[in-house]
Amino acid sequence: MASHKTYWKSETELFEKDQAVSHLKHNEFAETLPVNDFLEDEASLQSSETSRRDFLKFVGFSTAAVTLAACEGPVKKSIPYVIQPDEIVPGVANYYATTISDGFDFASILVKTREGRPIKIENNDRARLFGGANARVQASVLNLYDKFRLQGPLAAGVDVSWDTLDTAVKARLDALLSTGQKAVVLSASTTSPSYKALVTQLKEIYASVEHVSYDVVSSGAALEAFGQVYGESGLADYDFSKADVILSFDADFLGDWQGGSYAKSYVANRIPKHGHMSHHVQLESNMTLTGANADKRIPLNTAEIKRALAALYKALNGEAVSESDSSIAGHMNALADKLRTVGSKAVVVCGVEDVNAQLLTLAINEYLKSDAFDPAAPRNLRSSTASAMDQLIADMDSGAVGALFIDKVNPVYSLANGAAFAEAMQKVGFTVCSAFSMNETAELASFVVANSHYLESWADAQPKKSYYTLTQPVIRNLFDTRQFEECLLKWSGSSDTYHDFIKGHWTANVLGGNAWNKAVQDGVFEAAAPKSLDARIDETLLQSAHRSLAVAQSEGMELVLYTKTGMGDGQMANNPWLQEFPDPISRTSWDNYLTISKADAEAYGLKNVNVANGGLDGSYVKVTVNGTSISNVPVMIQPGQAKGTVGLALGYGRKVGLQSEMQTGVNAYKVYFNGSKVQEVTIEKQSGMHEFACVQLHKTLMGRGDIIKETTLEDFITKPASEWNEVPVVSLDHQEVPASTVDLWESFDRSVGHHFNLSIDLNACTGCGACVIACHAENNVPVVGKKEIRVSRDMHWLRIDRYYSSEESFAADDAKKESFDGLFGETGSLGGFGTLEDPSANPQVAFQPVMCQHCNHAPCETVCPVAATSHSRQGHNHMAYNRCIGTRYCANNCPYKVRRFNWFRYNQNDEFDFHMNNDLGRMVLNPDVNVRSRGVMEKCSFCIQRTQKAILDAKAEGRAVKDAEFQTACSAACDTEALVFGDVNDKDSEVAQLKESERMYHLLENVGTQPNVFYHVKIRNTEKA
């Protein structure tokens, strides 16, 4: 709108007749411009000519000006939607329920996507079972953005089109119809009903098709025993929440035993409620996560474990146990009494790869009528036996196989006789390998199917009888890849997509009238409970099983193969998060190693030493099993390792298709003969020392019982909290008062608004490390590589400290320290502290997750010269990265040592060539959290981006925030609810109630930091049995 207002410039303008006014009005310039002065003088105009130099100046200037004008700002490759999808709102995350089932791990999960990109894995709380994502599953999202993944199909290593591949496969299958040779589909044990139906469909067209399943890490013995007893394929399932006594014979059921962790049901009965918690006894050779959590851990070699099981069986049958094995016999008699008293509230689990042992276990559980034992709805997660693979190789050698389709598995790498398999592959002549990235088997295949990631695929699964799950794609194929099921459909001549096929199969066979969309939305579907199975246990079989176990003897050294929490079977070896994930037990990353007891290490002259910068070095050994040797295996002296045994993790030592940084460790599959995890071994010292990347160089707690407070169940029940959860006191005006009440500062009114607290229950934390990876993914924590980890520069915002006791228990450590008297001599503190540094041969273990404690009186905040770290009203200790100048004073003054410094630039730097150094890898970054630059300090933020989102969502909807909405990445990832986050100003919140618990204590309370993270005293049920 044009304005008609007039503005007066001076008073004289009021007099319109004024000459001066009218003159000014009509003349823009008050004075005449001397135009003529310089234009009139024609002579001077004539004489001025543009010289050549001036001309060049003008040309130069205009060229530069034009060039500059032509420059653009940085180009951002973002393409707007032509049609904006309804469900994608920039800045708002979508969650999709799906399932990961990669042949080793299985979990029902939620996938968080931002602007269409999957960036984070969360637990699916609608799944009653398998709803907890472990560390590997949490990390699996990064595999989607692996720059080493195959981006299209290959024929003999050269790119081909899908059409060429399909034609070749069909031609071969057609040809096989006449030759009578078999076409074998080799896959990991699949629980997918649709997959099986698909193979059947293919079989209808090509009768020669056969399906062989192959478990990289086998549970063959348990499968066989279960089959013998119940006449069905499967593995008995367990619900440890119903068990008061858990007796485990080498079953790492919090680890990868029989297809996945039982942590959730285990922990349900490990938190003392009403003075009650389960008692857990573990007999094992390696120090496992399960053993570390046990109330009583008995380190034995496998032969001893077998004899112990036989002894228990005998004792339960009312026979006296022979005295030859007095220590085992003593334990087993006591345990048998215990089991009989508890009856159905007891359960026995067995991880010994021996059919006889598994038979006895089933018989004992049947005898006890164990509530926790569920054979009616068995797990299907492992289904293959070692003999199936031997048969396949024999068939391939004999020429009976005319085409081999390998789906995802990598037998050339993961079979002990991988070389034989490779040779046999040549004899088949036509091999198609479906692989996610290049691997040892795919290298030898005639065709390679570039497989899609599970986040790009449809699939279904039946992990347990009558329990179904669905996998749905959350992003379109990033590359020209195709999931193997689509290939099978194509080859069977169908024009359906696999989605159509699953939907069809489910509607017909699974859903029973229930809605498909609901099943997809939930990711899980439960059919009616199956009827119970009758056990048919043959007494004579049991007798012979018992006889053979009772005389088990080990010859020489035993090698016990295991899978590491971080690496599993090794299929995710190119994932830098997992490589850098410190093992919960050894706290070492980027390696596998031979774990050995201290006594054996001394006998072989093997050493672990710390060099000047603290880095851990270990001797090398040569490991020989059945004539197959692995050289240069580094040695890790492992407290709790049974004497006469050594442990070695599978899944390392892969070379093909891996970035050079990820080619770590040695390949233990080379000695994984017959799928048996126990092998007879000889070891031989080699020269040189290996450089480990270990994040915790000090193993013991040094008698500092106030860091991890713990007590026995008996004391917990019978004694007042002041005895087992002593509050530190300080002297104020010569009076002893609780340390937390003394204050140098004016306290801030914290009753208004939210006040966030994090509760950590040391009884519920199993140390599994899912939270560590969840934090990594949520907060864009950089990967720094082996060299940096070695020099104690890990960047993890959340770490799980693991301590060993130096005496037989932590309580004994504390007592020993208390008894120090003077400096010198037997009980002197000079020597005493030295001995406390050495862990015991069979120590107690304690885990303690530590992240920024968000102290209300934070030592870091007062010392920052530029106030880059400061406190929020909501109890956060903020870190303003932009303000940080990097003096690192805050990190020095942090009693918890949780602050992490960006020593280098960790993104877009070829020195740190991990996911933050390429466009594809950077797609996983959380857009809500910034990527820190070099030279700034960083640390846990209590996932402020998540709490702020919850607050803003509630505000937008005009309601109060619900308790469950406040979650940090770690608390959301914790399947066992060891970590509970929330607002303590909301008196009804879970965390507020947990804070009132008698077990609550603050870490280093005597320092007066008043943290917003609190712990719950660890209770050990050690008095029983």
């Binding site: 910068n613 160089l697 030295g834 530590v850 007062t862 990190a891 020095n892 040592k897 602050r899 410094f901």
Partner: protein, 489 residues
Amino acid sequence: MASHYEASIRKPLVTGSKSYSDVSNDIARPVEGRANKQWWIVFGIALAAFLWGLGAIIYTISTGIGVWGLNKTVNWAWDITNFVWWVGIGHAGTLISAVLLLFRQKWRMAINRSAEAMTIFSVIQAGLFPIIHMGRPWLAFWVLPIPNQYGSLWVNFNSPLLWDVFAISTYLSVSLVFWWTGLLPDFAMIRDRAIKPFQKKLYSLISFGWTGRSKDWQRFEEVSLVLAGLATPLVLSVHTIVSFDFATSVIPGWHTTIFPPYFVAGAIFSGFAMVNTLLIIMRKVVGLEDYITVQHIELMNIVIMITGSIVGCAYITELFIAWYSGVEYEQYAFLNRATGPYAWAYWAMMSCNVFSPQFMWFKRLRTSIMFSFFISIVVNIGMWFERFVIIVTSLHRDYLPSSWTMFSPTFVDIGIFIGTIGFFFVLFLLYSRTFPVIAQAEVKSILKSSGDQYKALREEGKPLYTMPKRGKVTTYSIEENSTTNQTHS
């Protein structure tokens, strides 16, 4: 005038029968003459070390602090050790010139100029470290309370690091002004002697138009006294504040109330040792034995002995308090110092700082120039280890054993330290060739009371204006004087 009389039992502070012109000649000689070969060799080495350090600093700033040996537990090591070490060395200068001025210790006059130069040069070295140890040194100006448009951004006055900024910069500026004030008459002396126009121009510029009128002298005296008064509390405050970096923290081994006096004593200790190191060389090289006499060295040694013993007491007190406190973390921190993985550093510190100065109880040793030089080096090694022990051994094993680790320097850590030593010597060597290294105006003021020939004349009852004949060579006149003395006695 009282200053013109000194008891005869006091040893002369200037020997060699110096006349006023001798003093001028002796002090101006290095400035007016040409550098000899040795100077060039030493300067070359210092310059090479400086350039090497500069390279290491550039590498650090362009790549990241990760090129040092630090880690998540030990976030400071050589950087702050070097910082505190250099600040400590920088303590002697102001103490000598200000505190000894107030106490009217005339012997300071021969050494205060160089001691102050040393102070300023070492504070420059010290000042480097807080800047280069930052992760983002290009933002170092954020530690200054500069009004800005970023909103409510302001420095954190709670932080001892911020106090450091003020303490060090105040100390540096006051020391610089004090030093320069004292230099004015001496610069003017050189200006007046200069024959080359460039030199004349330069020295007249930096002598600020000194005329030598009695008004000039009066103001000079006043300003000196005022500045001495201002600088004296700074001597105590600077290292007190540096010690707050540690004392106000919560880390066992740092959180100690004894730190301020302990650090100040340690600083004087190391500063005097460094003055000894430098002057024992300089008096020889520049030929100033008549001004910096064995007596000077002996007096410095006594200060070293006393402050070394104070530091020793502090060490023992720390151990006692750790035991007496009953705090297990504190107790372990000190047990770990003495017996842990860095025990060698602790015992190096103990033997260098506590045991070695005790030799100075013996007159023969404290008047031995070679031995004094040796001890001065040992003390400075010991004081470097003291800071290393405080910083690294306290950090490497603090509260949670899970974070315990070790520290080992990289070649960059070492390079930067050597570089600052090089830088220091580059500055000091340039200074020794361009500045009057002894406060000649002040020395002239005590020549009649404390010069050996005047003391001898007074002894003989001769008037003090009895002067050797003009034009005679100084060395010759010493002989003549001594014979005169003999004949008359």
